[in-house]
C-alpha cells in the first residue's frame, strides 16, 4: 500500500506504514470511529423518515437523563459486562466465541433449574440460594463452552460455526423447559422465584437511605465488577494469562515454548462460557425473577462489539458496557426497532476499518 500519486496537484499524498504508534492515537481513532458511525446512523434514520437529532437526544435522555434511568442503564450494562468479558477473554486467544448468547441462556436455565426443580428449597438462606444459583449458571455456561472448545482443540472444527449453532440449540432448549416443564398455567413463563432467589437491589436500602428509592441496580453489577477484576488478574498478572496472550499473538512461538494449546483452548472456551453463563444467572436473579422465553435482546452478540470496542481490555469493558446498556435501554422505545442493532453494526464496522489508521499514515508534502 506504499503508493505515491501526484495527480498533477501542487502537493503529493501518499500512504506509508507507521513505524511507531503514539499512545493517544488508538483511543482517539476509536472515538472518531464512533462519531462517524453515529453520523452514518443518523443518515439512515433520516432516510427512513426519522429525525436523527431527536432520536439521539432521546437515547441520551432516556439512558443518562436522571439517576433513575441511569440506574436502569446500569441494570442493562450488568449482563453486558459479563458477556463483554467472556468475549474479551476468548478473543484474546483468537478463539472466536460467538456463542455468548447461547451460554447466557444456558446460565439462566441452570440458575432457574436449581430453584424450579426444588433442589434449593424456599427456606434456604438468601446468600446460599444465590451462591448455588451462581454456581449452577456458571457451570451450565461452561458446559456449553466445552463442546466447541473440545471440537476446536481436538478436531480443528471451526468454533465460530459451532458456538453459533449452539446458540439456536440453547434457545430451543430453554423454550422446551419453559413450555413443557415449568410453564405457569400454559403461559410462556415459569412461576416467579421466591424472594430468597432475588439479588438485593439498591431500592431495598431505601429505608435507611431514602435517596435510593426506586433504584433497580442490583447485586449483579457488583458481581460483574468483581469478574472484571478476576479476568484482569488472569490476563495480565497470572501465568495462565501470559499463555493465553502468547497463544493469541503468536501460536507458533507459544508451541515452541511448550504451552499446551489443546487444554488452553478447552479451558478458555469454558471460562468464557462460564462468564456468559453468569450473565444469564445475574439477569434471572436480578431482573426477570423467573424463567421465560426471550430473556435476552441479543446481549451475547452485543458482547462481541463491546469486547472489540474495549480493545479486549477488561476495565474498558465496564465503560463500553454502560454506553451500550444505555443504547439498548433507550433503543427499546425507538422506532424503527432495528435502530440500536444498526448503530451497533455501523460502530463495529467503523472500528475495524479505522484500525488501518493505526498501521498506516497519510502523508502530504509540497512538490518541490
Amino acid at each position: 500500500m506504499t503508493t505515491q500519486k501526484t495527480l498533477g496537484l501542487p502537493f503529493r499524498i501518499w500512504i506509508e506504514p507507521r513505524l511507531s504508534v503514539p499512545a493517544w492515537l488508538s483511543p482517539a481513532i476509536s472515538v472518531g470511529a464512533i462519531i462517524v458511525a453515529l453520523l452514518l446512523g443518523g443518515v439512515v434514520i433520516a432516510l427512513v423518515g426519522g429525525d436523527p437529532i431527536a432520536t439521539y437526544w432521546h437515547i441520551g435522555k432516556a439512558a443518562f437523563g436522571n439517576l433513575g434511568v441511569f440506574s436502569d442503564t446500569l441494570v442493562m450494562a450488568t449482563p453486558l459486562i459479563f458477556v463483554g468479558l467472556a468475549c474479551s477473554l476468548a478473543f484474546r486467544m483468537k478463539l472466536w466465541n460467538i456463542g455468548a448468547e447461547g451460554q447466557f441462556y444456558m446460565g439462566a436455565l441452570g440458575a432457574s433449574a436449581v430453584i424450579l426443580s426444588g433442589l434449593v428449597p424456599e427456606s434456604t438462606p438468601r446468600p446460599l440460594t444465590l451462591f448455588v444459583m451462581a454456581i449452577a449458571g456458571l457451570l451450565s455456561g461452561a458446559a456449553w463452552g466445552f463442546l466447541p472448545g473440545f471440537l476446536k482443540a481436538r478436531l480443528k472444527v471451526n468454533e465460530i460455526i459451532t458456538t453459533l449453532m449452539l446458540n439456536y440449540i440453547a434457545i430451543a432448549l430453554v423454550n422446551f423447559f419453559v413450555f413443557a416443564v415449568w410453564s405457569e398455567g400454559g403461559f410462556q413463563m415459569s412461576k416467579t422465584f421466591p424472594r430468597t432467589a432475588w439479588f438485593p437491589r439498591l431500592s431495598d436500602l431505601s429505608q435507611q437511605f431514602p435517596a435510593l428509592r426506586g433504584l433497580t441496580t442490583h447485586l449483579g453489577l457488583g458481581l460483574a465488577i468483581l469478574a472484571v477484576g478476576v479476568v484482569w488478574y488472569i490476563l495480565y498478572r497470572s501465568r495462565w494469562g501470559y499463555e493465553i496472550r502468547l497463544l493469541g499473538d503468536n501460536p507458533r512461538a507459544a508451541e515452541y515454548a511448550g504451552i499446551n494449546i489443546v487444554s488452553n483452548t478447552v479451558l478458555v472456551m469454558m471460562t468464557s462460557g462460564a462468564l456468559a453463563g453468569l450473565a444469564g444467572m445475574s439477569e434471572i436473579a436480578g431482573v426477570v425473577h423467573r424463567l421465560q422465553t426471550s430473556i435476552s435482546p441479543g446481549f451475547g452478540f452485543t458482547g462481541i462489539i463491546i469486547a472489540w470496542l474495549a480493545k479486549l481490555n477488561p476495565v474498558a469493558v465496564i465503560i463500553v458496557s454502560i454506553l451500550f446498556g444505555g443504547l439498548i435501554l433507550a433503543g427499546r422505545e425507538i422506532q424503527p426497532a432495528g435502530v440500536p442493532r444498526l448503530i451497533q453494526g455501523i460502530i463495529l464496522f467503523m472500528l475495524i476499518a479505522s484500525d488501518v489508521l493505526l498501521r498506516y499514515q497519510v502523508k502530504i508534502e509540497r512538490v518541490k
Binding site: M1, T2, V44, I45, V48, W96, I98, L147, L151, L155, K156, V157, N158, I160, I161, T162, L164, M165, L166, Y168, I169, A172, L173, N175, F176, F179, A180, F301, I304, I305, W308, Q335, P336, A337, G338, V339, P340, R341, L342, I343, Q344, G345, I346, L348, F349, I352, A353, D355, V356, R359
Partner: protein, 322 residues
C-alpha cells in the same frame, strides 16, 4: 408425511442454501472469508420483498436484492482487502449491519402479507421420470431451476476455465498469481461482490418463493450460518454443496411436517402426542451442522483437502508471501 412431497419441498427450500453456499464458495475460493452471509441474506430478503411489493415485479425485486447485498459485500471487501482488517470480525460486523439495515428499512413490511410473483412450473417429459420427476421437476419455483442451471456452470467455471484458474490461484497463492500478472485485489473484490449477490439471491428466494413474506430476523433464522458451515462440509466444491443444501432443505421440511400425522410408520407419533418434543426437532438443523463439520474435519485432517491456502489472509503487495 409423503416422502415425495417432503423431498420436493426440501429441494425448494434447499435452493436457498444452495445460492448462499455457492456465493460463499466463490468468495472463499478467492481467499476472502465472509461471515456476513446471514446479514446479506436478510438484506436480500427484505429488499426483494420490498421492491416486489412496490413494483409488482419479482424480477426487479431479485435484482435489487442482488445489488444491495453485493454492495454490502463490497464494504466487507474494502475493509478486509484494502484495509487488511480481520476477516472474522468484519464478517460479524456485516451480519450486524445487514440485520440492522433490513430491520430498519423493513419496518412495517410484514403487514404486506405474502405475494407470489415468481412463476412455478413443471418441466415437460422430465416430470414423468419416476421419483426424480416429482421431486425435482414438478411444480417447482423458477428459482429452483435457476439453481440447477447455476450448479454445473459454477463447477465448470471454477475447474475448467481460465478465469476459474485465476480464481483458484489468488486463493491458493496470491503472491504467485500476482507475479503471473493477475490483479489480486481487483479479482478478490469481484468475487466477494459476486458472492454477496448470490447471498442476496438466496434471501430473495426465501421472501419471494420458498416462504413468501417478511418476518424480520425469522425470515432467515440462521440459514446464512448453516450455509457457512456447508461450505466447509462441501470442501469448496459446488456438487457437494448442492448435496448438502438439498439434504438440509429436506430436513427443514421434515421438522415442519412431523407434528401433523397421528401415527408414524405404524407407531403412535410422539411429536403428535406431545408437541413440545418439537423443540428438539427445531434443534436438528443446527445440531446436524455441527455433526457435518465434525465429519468434514475428520476428512480434512486425513488428507488436508479443500481449504484455499490463503483463506483469511490479507494480501499485501510487496510483502513476502505466506
Amino acid at each position: 408425511m409423503d416422502p415425495i412431497i417432503i423431498l420436493q419441498a426440501g429441494v425448494a427450500s434447499g435452493t436457498v442454501l444452495l445460492f448462499a453456499t455457492l456465493g460463499e464458495i466463490f468468495a472463499e475460493r478467492s481467499g476472502v472469508l465472509n461471515l456476513g452471509v446471514e446479514g446479506m441474506m436478510l438484506m436480500g430478503a427484505m429488499s426483494a420483498f420490498s421492491v416486489t411489493v412496490a413494483t409488482g415485479n419479482g424480477w426487479l425485486g431479485l435484482l435489487a436484492a442482488m445489488a444491495l447485498s453485493g454492495l454490502l459485500a463490497i464494504l466487507h471487501g474494502i475493509v478486509t482487502i484494502h484495509f487488511q482488517a480481520d476477516q472474522v470480525v468484519s464478517g460479524l460486523a456485516l451480519t450486524f449491519l445487514g440485520t440492522g439495515l433490513s430491520l430498519v428499512f423493513g419496518e412495517g413490511l410484514s403487514k404486506a402479507g405474502a405475494i407470489t410473483s415468481l412463476p412455478k412450473f413443471s418441466i415437460p417429459l422430465l416430470t414423468s421420470i419416476p421419483i426424480l420427476g416429482p421431486v425435482f421437476f414438478t411444480e417447482q419455483s423458477v428459482m429452483v431451476y435457476i439453481g440447477y442451471a447455476l450448479l454445473p456452470l459454477a463447477w465448470f467455471y471454477i475447474h475448467r476455465t481460465r478465469p476459474g484458474l485465476h480464481l483458484r490461484a489468488i486463493g491458493e497463492n496470491p503472491t504467485a498469481a500476482d507475479a503471473m500478472g493477475i490483479n489480486v485485489y481487483r479479482l478478490r473484490y469481484a468475487y466477494v461482490a459476486f458472492g454477496g449477490m448470490l447471498c442476496g439471491l438466496a434471501g430473495g428466494t426465501i421472501s419471494l418463493a420458498v416462504s413468501p413474506g417478511w418476518f424480520s430476523e425469522l425470515t432467515t433464522s440462521g440459514q446464512g450460518w448453516i450455509a457457512v458451515g456447508l461450505v466447509i462440509f462441501a470442501q469448496w466444491d459446488p456438487w457437494r454443496a448442492a448435496f448438502g443444501s438439498y439434504a438440509f432443505g429436506a430436513l427443514r421440511r421434515v421438522i415442519l411436517d412431523i407434528q401433523g400425522p397421528q401415527t408414524l410408520l405404524g407407531f403412535p407419533n410422539p411429536f403428535f402426542i406431545n408437541p413440545y418434543w418439537g423443540f428438539f426437532m427445531q434443534m436438528l438443523p443446527y445440531a446436524f451442522t455441527i455433526i457435518v463439520l465434525v465429519i468434514g474435519s475428520r476428512g480434512a485432517l486425513r488428507q488436508r483437502l479443500g481449504a484455499p491456502a490463503a483463506l483469511g489472509v490479507p494480501y499485501v503487495r510487496g510483502e513476502r508471501g505466506h
